[in-house]
């Protein structure tokens, strides 16, 4: 919940004040100070693992510069191993203990954003190894790049060459960027509080009590989960982009209207783009990509998506979810000619929706059971007899959720058509712009799902 806390925005104002106060040349030091302060003000736990990983990886990249041949390969391998080991044990330790060793789970020390910074560091080390850029000699600057607080918790996973120059050069205050940043932050709050957390009320009710619900209940909850996950993750990316933009820093887009995808392959070009491109560049292509024949290509696809599944969480269901996406894409390739173009978006959405059920369910078994009950139980009357309003949202709240989803759809449609809504708003006259902004803020304040009586939802991707 850090990204939507009042304390974070007070902290942000403080860092911004000092950032623009110091001379251009030293502004990066304020970002570093902000990152350290952020970690200790909002998290604290596992800072030494995070710091250790930064120092080790920096040291590895320094060594990579001096070695070549097998020595260089060995150093890179060692570097990746040292960075991955903490992530592997922290994220998979309990699964190994419980499922494989039959022991009880333990409480691991989890550094903030470990899944994200692990990938960020691996990408950096591999790029240095490949000689794509010189390693950063200044450890403080490197630490600032890894720990940049707007994206540390939930990405997007940045690339060194895209982000580092913006962090180091120091940025002048730019009004246009500041206004865009405010729009992004308002939109992020809308996505999180009015859509994701409102949908979560129904999703949690059905998924957490799935034996009690069947048929249309599961259809609705699964559709809402697809929307919740998208709105939630898009919210945190949008908020991160907004916060970074206040410093004049542009973070890469992480989504491109994923539910408008015409195939699962297309979906992965639009969903969590920074992870997809990471997997492509550092797993799929190094494995051989599609250069070694069809069978190897499919095998690489399966490996890549199983790794993607494992990154999202420990357990069979995540492996199954990753594998399902790989098989979807293999199937799409095999049955390419059968594809019915006009329904491709709908079919793609339904396929992804089934995969999300497994992703969200308690276990693979319960996920499959839910999918089975979607088809075997017939109860369409719940759509007409007010039973839907017993799932935790009263009818007025339900209507707000539907309208908000409609608004998200329209915004995405405009973006798909190449029209940027924030650009459109910025072209309006000042009083109308202010009216829209203030209306949006008051609207979110009234209609959001937060505060006393609500079990506030953490950002879903913050848990990965």
């Amino acid at each position: 919940m850090i990204y939507i806390s009042v304390e974070l925005y007070l902290f942000l104002c403080l860092v911004l004040f000092f950032y623009y106060l110091v001379p251009l040349k030293y502004r990066w030091t304020m970002l570093l100070a902000g990152n350290i302060l952020f970690y200790f003000a909002f998290y604290k736990t596992g800072w030494w693992i995070f710091l250790g990983t930064i120092i080790i990886s920096w040291f590895i990249t320094m060594l990579l510069k001096r070695f070549s041949g097998i020595g260089k390969n060995l150093i890179l391998f060692m570097g990746i191993l040292l960075v991955v080991i903490p992530w592997f044990f922290i994220k998979n330790g309990n699964f190994i203990r419980q499922a494989l060793m039959g022991k009880t789970s333990v409480s691991w020390i989890i550094p903030l954003g470990i899944s994200f910074y692990t990938l960020q560091i691996i990408a950096y080390m591999v790029d240095v190894y490949r000689g794509e850029y010189e390693p950063q000699r200044n450890l403080a600057k490197y630490a600032m790049f890894i720990s940049f607080f707007p994206h540390i918790i939930q990405g997007p996973i940045p690339r060194y060459e895209q982000l580092m120059p913006q962090l180091i050069r120091g940025n002048r205050f730019d009004e246009e960027k500041a206004i865009r940043a405010i729009y992004l932050i308002i939109y992020g709050f809308f996505l999180k509080l009015v859509i994701a957390d409102k949908a979560a009320v129904i999703v949690n009710m059905v998924f957490d009590n799935y034996p009690a619900y069947s048929g249309c209940y599961i259809w609705i909850a699964s559709f809402l989960y697809s929307i919740q996950l998208y709105a939630d993750f898009l919210a945190c990316t949008t908020l991160a982009q907004g916060m970074a933009l206040l410093f004049g820093i542009e973070l890469a887009d992480n989504f491109k209207q994923p539910y408008f995808a015409e195939s699962v392959k297309d979906f992965w070009r639009r969903w969590h783009i920074s992870l997809s491109s990471w997997l492509r560049d550092y797993v799929y292509i190094p494995l051989g990509g599609n250069r070694k024949g069809v069978l190897i290509k499919y095998l690489n696809l399966v490996i890549t998506f199983i790794i993607s599944g494992l990154w999202h969480g420990a357990g069979i269901k995540f492996i199954a979810w990753g594998a399902l996406h790989a098989f979807y894409q293999i199937g799409e390739k095999v049955f390419e000619k059968l594809k019915y173009k006009k329904l491709s978006k709908l079919i793609t959405f339904l396929m992804i929706n089934f995969a999300w059920i497994i992703f969200r369910a308690e276990s693979l078994k319960s996920g499959l059971s839910m999918i089975k009950h979607m088809f075997t139980d017939w109860n369409p009357w719940i759509l007409f007899n007010n039973r839907l309003f017993t799932l935790g949202l009263a009818w007025k709240e339900f209507i707000v959720l539907l309208l908000a989803i409609g608004m998200l759809f329209l915004i995405d449609k405009k973006h798909e058509d190449g029209i940027c809504i924030s650009e459109q708003i910025r072209k309006l006259k000042l009083p109308i712009r202010w009216l829209i902004c203030m209306g949006a803020i008051i609207g979110i304040m009234l209609l959001g799902t937060y505060g006393y009586g609500f079990n506030a939802q953490d950002f879903i991707y913050g848990g990965f």
């Binding site: 709240e397 202010w434 203030m438 008051i442 304040m445 009234l446 937060y450 006393y452």
Partner: protein
């Protein structure tokens, strides 16, 4: 640079307007409890801030037991005592302490009278001993100052469910109310004028136990255990009173939940700390006040307006004699509210009038809107006296009302609308400057069907029994005062 300054000015203006809008939204969202609520907590606290500074000599604190018991108007009328009742529903001792501190910013009371109900366990599942929403009610109306700041920090320290941000930004607590906002949420500026009762809450039922027996000191030596947090805040209250040279009096109003063990515990505390303790459940005070539990209590826990008059006069007398308070030159603040109090008293008494002619005479007041609808046959019990009483109530055609006919009457500010017919009748109208709408339907049974409805603001208020149904609406307090049916006798 000029561009940056322009941007800064625009930003400040934007934030300023937004702050005003957020504040207004929060004001609308925050629940309000004015004179049309059973427990008008908002009136109690907002009214306190309206009092002239340093005019209140006696302050009352405590739970709803105290709010419905200590009657400042009666005390003023009897002995000229200038008091204010800061009690509210489920007021725990933490709330009492901070409201005492807040009161001391504006007033210099000589005596503080504290009801001790929440010293003992009220709700064991609540960290503050009482419900969260009641604590909120008390603090939502407190002005921001160092005292409120300390209070909310204390509350949030003890109660993990509560957050500081919800006090700074009430929308965090109340935003879900958007779906249930009512008229009173928007008309708070006009409701503010009703502070006449100085925090006192009048209750009008006579519903106490018929078999209540007061206990006697010495019946047992058992001692109940106080809730440690509540005792801690009682100590702080005692300390503040000592520092400010204020007499602290602990009291317990008549309540079935009180017993001799609790009495012993409070008595012991009072003796050890040199403070007075008056317990109206103990036989001596109970009998001195001539309390009749079944007559003077609204329910088993709260005294009604008649019980409050007895106890308030008793306390006022004691304050006068023992603390030399009252009998001063008087104050307009209390003198001018007597008329309103007498109206409230007569509203309460209305419910106990059993003679229809007396009843019709009693409701013939401009401050009432009277809504009448006949269900079934209204002529059986329509004596000449009753017809005459109706005529006096601005009914011109009651005399012509026929057997098994429909009839309705609306009396409002000296004028009336009425109709009689063999068909079904209905009438729509409004009162209180068109803020309150009502709908009357009458079916006498012949051709009009057998139907009766009197709705005020969409809410059914008629008893809908066979006979003449009467609803009395107070224009002043904007609530239904009484709803009866006359069918030979008055039934409720």
């Amino acid at each position: 640079m000029k561009k940056h300054i322009r941007f800064a000015v625009k930003s400040i203006l934007f934030v300023g307007i937004l702050a005003v809008l957020v504040n207004l939204t929060n004001k609308i969202l925050t629940p309000k409890y004015y004179m049309d609520s059973l427990w008008p907590t908002t009136s109690t606290y907002e009214g306190f801030y309206d009092m002239e500074e340093n005019t209140v000599d006696v302050l009352f604190l405590g739970s709803s037991h105290a709010a419905s018991c200590f009657n400042p108007q009666v005390m003023y009328n009897a002995f000229g005592i200038q008091s204010y009742n800061l009690a509210c529903e489920h007021q725990n001792l933490l709330t009492s302490y901070y409201w005492l501190m807040e009161a001391l910013r504006f007033q210099t009371p000589k005596v503080v009278i504290l009801d001790t109900y929440t010293l003992f366990t009220v709700n064991k599942y609540e960290p503050l001993n009482t419900a969260e929403n009641c604590t909120r009610k008390a603090f939502d109306n407190m002005k921001w100052s160092k005292i409120k700041w300390e209070a909310v920090h204390d509350i949030c320290n003890y109660d993990e469910k509560q957050t500081l941000s919800s006090y700074y930004f009430p929308n965090v607590r109340y935003h879900t109310r958007w779906a249930e906002l009512q008229e009173e949420d928007f008309r708070f500026s006009s409701d503010k004028k009703h502070y006449e009762l100085k925090g006192y809450t009048p209750l009008d039922r006579k519903g106490g136990y018929a078999i209540f027996e007061p206990f006697r000191e010495g019946d047992t030596t058992d001692c109940s255990k106080m809730v440690p947090l509540m005792e801690q805040y009682l100590n702080r209250i005692a300390e503040v009173c000592r520092e400010k040279n204020i007499e602290l009096v602990l009291v317990k109003t008549p309540a079935a939940a009180h017993n001799i063990s609790k009495y012993n515990a409070i008595k012991k505390y009072a003796d050890e700390n040199g403070v007075e303790y008056w317990d109206f459940n103990e036989a001596k005070l109970y009998n001195d006040c001539e309390i009749v539990f079944s007559e003077d209590l609204h329910d088993d826990m709260h005294v009604n307006i008649w019980g409050s008059e007895k106890i308030s006069v008793y306390i006022a007398d004691k304050l006068c004699r023992e603390f030399d308070i009252g009998q001063g030159k008087g104050s307009e603040q209390w003198a001018q509210s007597n008329e309103y109090y007498q109206d409230v008293l007569s509203d309460c008494e209305l419910k106990y009038i059993s003679d229809v002619c007396e009843y019709l005479a009693a409701i013939k007041k401009d401050r009432y809107t009277i809504l009448v609808s006949v269900l079934g046959d209204g002529t059986d019990f329509m004596t000449d006296d009753v017809r005459t009483a109706f005529m006096a109530l601005h009914s011109d055609i009651m005399m012509q009302y026929e057997q098994r006919g429909s009839y309705y009457l609306v009396v409002h500010e000296g004028s009336s609308h009425e109709a009689a017919s063999m068909d079904k009748l209905s009438y729509l109208g409004s009162t209180c400057n068109n803020l309150v709408d009502y709908e009357i339907i009458s079916g006498g049974g012949e051709k009009g069907g057998y139907v009766c409805s009197i709705k005020v603001n969409g809410e059914e208020c008629a008893t809908a029994r066979q006979g003449i149904n009467i609803v009395v609406y107070s224009n002043e307090n904007m609530k239904v005062v009484d709803s009866v049916c006359y069918n030979g006798e008055i039934v409720r």
